[in-house]
């Protein structure tokens, strides 16, 4: 332990910034605690060296000179570097040596959580144990002897309940200086400060409640070493449990079993799962959000352009500025923003499903089907998230332990139609399919709904078929088994749900305000000027016109060999929303209806569903696959499949007499 001491005194000479890392099992409340500790002072960045997302935040303190840089590591069960997440955590803790590790232990499940704690101990990592969910422990009637636990681990142990007092109201009350139960967060932070800056605290001496220090080496201390087997670790844990824990009734686990009697019931499980999925999509893409979408579209198409025009005219602005603002920026950004309600609802539901614990049940129910195509139920989560956005979805594949399962999931996830593609379908369906009906089994369906669903279904089918193909050929499984915890059901914290949602939605709005904004200007410039930067009358002679005419023949066999469609697909590589922005800018309503037919519209939708994902998703794929070879393979595969599928749709549709 003398190493720790010297390291701490060394770094205190350098600066007063301390590196704190949060580790813990999945579902131990780590992210909630991170949010509590850092408040709004967080940012997401990239790991130096390893290219994986890390979250860093600064803990705001009363003592201004102390800066705690807090890193939220992925949830892990073991420090043994086997899966990607474990490797990240291992590298950070063992090789990066943070000043202090805060180990979040779910006190309602001490046994398994202490395994990681003992591993940290065996690596001599300076650790403070945050014993979380103490409120639930009290409710269950469990009794934990915190002082004894601390003595046996020879680590400071601070009981907390990260969720309690984290509510919106409590936060406001606290801002107002009211004394609100903070769930022990204050104790934890002062203990952290004491550990990193207090004198001689590196040895992890135990402080008893009267303030005096015990002997550094407690006679109770359990002994583990780096090469202790899991059996040895658990036998030490059994000793600790015997000494420190008096069990009551685990109400949480009992309640979860009761809920699961219905939710994962043999007969009801699958119908309920399908009903939940249906509800998620119905609400996200249904009438309520469409109404908001129409309202935003109305603003972007009429209200705002009129206001802008009268305002700019009153300023004597030249014609081209009005065109740039209205036809470029307002049309482009508006087309994307009109899609905000769908993004909001979809991410709200995904967050709720995840935080309540249902997502793991969905994987439990679906595993059998995923096994058929060579994947595991764990692939379900990234694929479901793929309907929202491919970027977090591709990252979510990290929970898969089998390297080949992970690669396969990353490559097929972009086939799940991401939210940004929705406005493309909405545009085509609105123009070509909304006014007709399809007769099936004597019922009449709006063909718009059927077309929309067929696109989503096609994405799923292509993903499944691709998984089957890869798992049978180049990415055969290495037999890593499917082991997944079914966490107890919990009511998600309001604040943490909102924070999670805000992160996603604000990301979308920021994209609309930055990338799409810039893209809209660029698109407008490229369609208004030619290569000599002279304004053109007919946009077919513009930069886009020339480039578009050049690549359009590639799409001729698919039925949409028009330069404007070709350019739209090109801009779609930057961001999928840009396809719609480009079309809004390049086509007039009459041109659009004259050029596309229902059949070519459908072929175009199929192509945009399947072809290479946007730049952001590409970056995420490169990062997660950690190989250019595989990334390029994925892009070629996706685009090849898109071309083939659109070709078949167009040709076969033609033969069947569709137009």
């Amino acid at each position: 332990m003398s190493d720790d001491k010297s390291k701490i005194s060394q770094s205190s000479h350098k600066s007063q910034k301390w590196q704190i890392s949060l580790v813990g099992n999945p579902n131990s409340g780590k992210t909630t605690l991170f949010n509590r500790l850092t408040g709004s002072h967080q940012r997401v960045g990239n790991w130096p060296g390893v290219t994986v997302e890390k979250k860093t935040g600064y803990c705001p303190f009363t003592q201004k000179e102390i800066r705690l840089e807090i890193t939220d590591l992925p949830g892990i069960y073991s420090l043994e570097p086997r899966s990607t997440e474990e490797t990240i955590a291992y590298d950070h803790i063992v090789n990066n040596t943070p000043d202090l590790v805060v180990d979040i232990v779910d006190a309602t499940n001490l046994e398994r959580n202490l395994f990681l704690t003992l591993q940290l101990k065996s690596h001599n990592v300076p650790t403070v144990v945050a014993l979380n969910m103490m409120d639930e422990v009290r409710k269950n009637g469990d009794k934990i002897d915190v002082d004894k636990l601390s003595a046996m681990l020879n680590m400071p142990v601070v009981p907390i309940s990260a969720l309690s007092g984290s509510g919106f109201l409590s936060q406001i009350m606290r801002r107002l200086g009211k004394n609100v139960d903070d769930g022990g967060i204050g104790n934890l932070t002062s203990r952290i400060v004491q550990e990193v800056c207090g004198s001689g605290c590196g040895c992890g001496c135990v402080e008893v409640s009267d303030g005096s220090s015990k002997e550094c080496k407690s006679p109770l201390e359990v002994s583990v070493s780096v090469d202790s087997t899991p059996e040895k670790m658990y036998s030490e844990i059994d000793k600790i449990i015997k000494e420190c824990l008096v069990r009551g009734v685990n109400k949480n686990i009992d309640r979860s079993f009761k809920i699961d009697k219905i939710l994962t019931n043999k007969w009801l499980g699958i119908p309920i799962f399908l009903a939940i999925m249906y509800l998620v999509f119905q609400i996200s893409f249904g009438d309520a959000s469409s109404a908001i979408t129409e309202f935003i579209e109305g603003l972007a198409d009429e209200t705002v352009p009129q206001l802008v025009e009268s305002w700019l005219t009153s300023l004597d602005s030249p014609e081209w500025i009005i065109s740039l603002v209205n036809d470029g920026i307002v049309a482009g950004v508006g087309a994307v923003l009109s899609f905000l309600p769908q993004i909001f609802f979809l991410f709200l539901f995904l967050t709720l499903l995840e935080d309540t614990g249902y997502m793991a049940r969905a994987a439990f129910i679906m595993d059998r089907l995923f096994k058929q195509v060579g994947l595991s139920g764990k692939s379900f989560i990234p694929m479901l998230m793929g309907f929202g956005c491919s970027v977090p979805a591709v990252m979510a594949a990290r929970t898969l332990e089998d390297e080949n399962d992970r690669k396969t999931t990353i490559i097929i996830t972009p086939f799940m139609s991401c939210g940004a593609r929705l406005p493309i379908y909405a545009l085509f369906v609105g123009v070509f399919f909304a006014k007709t009906n399809i007769e099936l089994f004597g019922y009449s369906f709006s063909s718009g709904g059927v077309v929309m669903m067929s696109i989503y279904l096609l994405g799923v089918l292509v993903a499944v078929f691709s998984a089957l193909l890869f798992k049978k050929t180049i990415l055969k499984g290495d037999g890593t088994p499917f082991v997944m915890e079914l966490p107890p059901y919990r009511v998600p914290g309001f604040t943490s749900t909102i924070m999670h949602l805000w992160e996603k939605v604000s990301g979308f709005v920021i994209r609309a305000g930055t990338i799409i904004f810039a893209m809209s200007i660029l698109i407008w410039l490229c369609q208004s000027y030619d290569f000599t930067f002279t304004a053109v009358e007919d946009n077919a002679e513009s930069i886009f016109g020339v480039v578009g005419h050049w690549i359009a023949p590639i799409f001729e066999p698919l039925g949409f060999g028009d330069w404007r469609a070709a350019v739209a697909l090109l801009t779609g590589f930057i961001a999928k929303e840009a396809v719609v922005s480009t079309m809004e800018i390049l086509y007039t309503a009459q041109d659009f209806e004259a050029f596309f037919t229902p059949l070519t519209a459908y072929a175009f939708m199929v192509f945009t569903l399947l072809y290479l994902p946007c730049l952001a998703a590409l970056a995420a794929m490169k990062q997660e696959l950690n190989s250019w070879k595989w990334t390029i393979f994925a892009l070629l595969y996706q685009t090849g499949v898109a071309y083939g599928a659109a070709f078949i749709v167009f040709r076969v549709g033609h033969l069947l007499g569709f137009s």
Binding site: S78, K266, G269, G479, L486
Partner: protein, 74 residues
């Protein structure tokens, strides 16, 4: 014939004797608490018959039948 977890009926428990299979799998399960002498309970089967829901060391997890058949119980 030795008994494995797959031989348990829903609601039944057994004491783990030995976990077999490839080393990575044995290690993973022992880290999750599947050590000799530990009691494991089969709580339920998924609606499609596979995977299984097990309770061990005060928590719940799921593994496939094929994996469960490698966990021998007394």
């Amino acid at each position: 014939m030795k008994k494995t977890v797959t031989d348990l009926k829903v609601g039944e428990s057994g004491k783990i004797q030995k976990v077999t299979g490839n080393s990575g799998y044995v290690r993973r399960l022992s880290e999750m608490g599947f050590t000799p002498g530990t009691v494991v309970t089969l709580k339920k089967k998924a609606p499609l018959g596979d995977p299984l829901e097990l309770e061990i060391r005060e928590y719940v997890l799921t593994i496939r039948k094929s994996s469960a058949s490698l966990i021998f119980i007394e």
